[in-house]
Symmetry: C2
């Protein structure tokens, strides 16, 4: 931490980068570093390959995040929330951007790609930054507090996941005291769902089917139904995870009819390896989250998939 | 607060009561008082007209909550989370149960029905109890911490509603330090949904209606639909909050047909005062969360309620 502080203090210019497909901790911590360095009188830029998701537009200076590099050189490059330098973007040469690369992250499998690596396995990069700024005796402005609060809140699933510690809550309280408005931030992030996403979730849950034991649960979304509710593919984000939250469900499956075939998404809770199941059906993924695109009618695909799943769990 | 402490210290026996159709704060704070008094060597009973919802069964001694009175007499009766003595149950004569009635509550429109009234307009009764127990220098056991954490967590909508203050988070942190396991409690409450609760959520969202502007959204659940999905009253917990999560929705309303009338629940986001709306309809509650029980057909009640809501926001 002391090394990071020295490097920041010495630098006159900095570029702050985060991973593609950014989440709340990525955006929140990137902007927090930008604001802190700006307050210290440094010239800064922010870079993310993908645009800031709409729900994070309320964050201060979120409009200043760039999706391209202007070829400039910086004294330091600070990558936040990137377990691997490839997460920033395949093509970027971090070492070519700046004299010193600082890697601030909380992923347990971080590759330590920086010249200086500040890795702590806690809830979020935002929580690491809170401690860093404290050590730097930086005045916690309201804007910085809002960014860090948003980062901690989103990366802990709103204070639910199991790395939410008493200290995480203490830090959140401290940020709230510094001006992060708890309910406004929660509302901005969690309460801006589209009507079509809520309706398609409703249809999916209403149509839910389960195996006799209740260990396997699935729902089928024909294209016609999605069209009638005005639902788009992005409206289905998180839907299969919601199926998994049901008591007793070990494997959750979402079947959706798209133009290029039937998309099948799998999630498992504790036991089943859905990566193997997806592979057997021509797809792929992880043990707990996988998928496949299949051809045939919804009925045919459903039958084939369930037969494969029932080999493992019924 | 000092009066409450004296009354508790003097009493040898106590009955603790909470409102019908109990939520997490009702059950959590009732059990917390029971455990605290038990630790002080007092004889206690707990009463709630309706059973403890399944998702709160993980709370210690939740099995000891009774749904009938045995005709016994107590030195004190402590009502928690009841804005009005009628919320306990129409038929019970609190003053006949005990020499002294203590009313501990956080509803702004509390009718002060107790001999001693401890009313604080903060997040939850559990938060009031934390301060009370602190003042009493009571040792915070893990069991009590779990109950109070569950009460605060649920009544703040998992630290999202606008009466979640920095102090609320500090208290939650303190309870977590005292042994309340954050993620276990969140999982128990939020991630062990029953199939019927997911199906009724689906039906509710699928049937969602909105005003032309999209500022008011509501859903209507006829008894027949609930019965056909095997849904119970407790399966509807949080449903009206989910309606509010839609972008642009300022007032969310849930209409449900029950044996004793049409239950109407209101939530508001930033502007509308749904406490006033509920009062105009014979109900009560908070600015952001309120409710009423009304008589008539679903159609009649819906028309009457929407007319009242549309006076404020369309």
């Amino acid at each position: 931490m002391q090394e990071v502080i020295s490097a920041i203090r010495k630098a006159k210019s900095a570029i702050i980068l985060t991973h593609m497909d950014p989440d709340g901790d990525a955006i929140g911590s990137m902007i927090a570093v930008h604001l802190a360095l700006k307050e210290m009188g440094k010239r800064t830029s922010m870079y993310c390959k993908d645009p800031v998701p709409e729900m994070y537009n309320f964050l201060p200076e979120s409009g200043k995040v760039k999706d391209s590099l202007n070829g400039g050189k910086y004294d330091i490059a600070i990558a936040v929330d990137c377990g691997d330098s490839k997460r920033v973007e395949g093509g970027i040469d971090l070492k070519g951007l700046a004299g010193t690369v600082i890697n601030i992250d909380h992923h347990p499998d971080n590759t330590k790609f920086g010249d200086i690596n500040l890795i702590e396995k806690i809830s979020s990069v935002s929580e690491i930054l809170f401690k860093l700024f404290k050590k730097m005796r930086l005045k916690m402005s309201q804007d910085i507090a809002v960014c860090l609060y948003a980062g901690i809140m989103t990366d802990t699933g709103n204070f639910r996941y199991d790395y939410t510690t008493p200290e995480t809550l203490l830090i959140a309280a401290s940020l709230a005291k510094a001006g992060a408005e708890i309910s406004r931030i929660a509302m901005a992030v969690y309460e801006t769902k589209t009507l079509s996403s809520v309706r398609i979730l409703g249809a999916a849950m209403y149509r839910l089917e389960t195996s006799q034991s209740g260990h396997v649960a699935w729902t089928v979304l024909p294209k016609q139904l999605m069209d009638s509710l005005g639902a788009k593919s992005e409206d289905l984000t998180g839907l299969v995870d919601q199926i998994r939250t049901i008591k007793g469900v070990e494997v959750a499956i979402l079947f959706r009819e798209e133009d290029d075939g039937i998309k099948v998404n799998f999630r498992s809770k504790f036991k089943a390896n859905v990566s193997d199941i997806a592979k057997a059906l021509g797809g792929g993924g992880h043990i707990r989250a996988s998928g496949a695109i299949m051809q045939g009618t919804l009925e045919e695909v459903k039958e084939k998939v369930l037969a494969e799943v029932f080999k493992v769990i019924k």
